[in-house]
Amino acid sequence: MVSKETGSILEWVRVQESDFSVEEETDRIKERSKRIGGIVTFLGTARDFSKGKDINRIDFEHYPGMAEKRLNEIRERALQDYDIIEVSIVHRVGRIETGENIVLIVVAAEHRKDAFRACEWCIDELKRITPIWKREETTQGEVWVVEHP
């Protein structure tokens, strides 16, 4: 089950099955303010090899409602704790083939340092507290993956 298939493109935090465009997301954030002087993006993609096993495909499952809530909290805390202008977070769920996009974080600030720091914090925090699970289908069977940051 997918949470209200992301709602509108105007939301700054989304969980969705469909792919996203990095360019569209950065353009959208750029329009947010004329004060923006630097945009940092983190794009997570699906690799084809992990822990010694070839991966055929990945499935992401999330807790609809709670996952979006946590992502919104991350955005709000980043805006509060770092000197930045806007944050956008998009995470895909469902079946994802190797090479495809998984997660995108876009942070805009007046100056690059704040954008870099906030972007790194956002992806670390996303991985730590967001109820999203990853199942890899490998050549040796299925495995639920828990990464160790």
């Binding site: 807790y63 991985k127 730590r128 109820p131 699970w133 828990v146 160790h148």
Partner: protein
Amino acid sequence: MVTVRFFAVLKKLLDRESMHVDLHGPTTLKALLDRLEEDIPSIRSVIREGRTLIAVNQEIAQEETLVSDGDEVAFLPPFAGGQH
């Protein structure tokens, strides 16, 4: 009635996605687990060994947390990013 949901690997381990439990007034999560154990004898060992978190209405809860009619209780195995 409380809705109980299981996610990711727990769905496979416990062979179910969700279930409903009738409560007679507010009860602790610990007491709810006792009730669930009647249907799923392995639930406590699966939770312990799997380092599972439990959420009540999408907030992380403890065994003393009170659960009432209409609440949603979710069993969350470790997230992909490596929490707990």
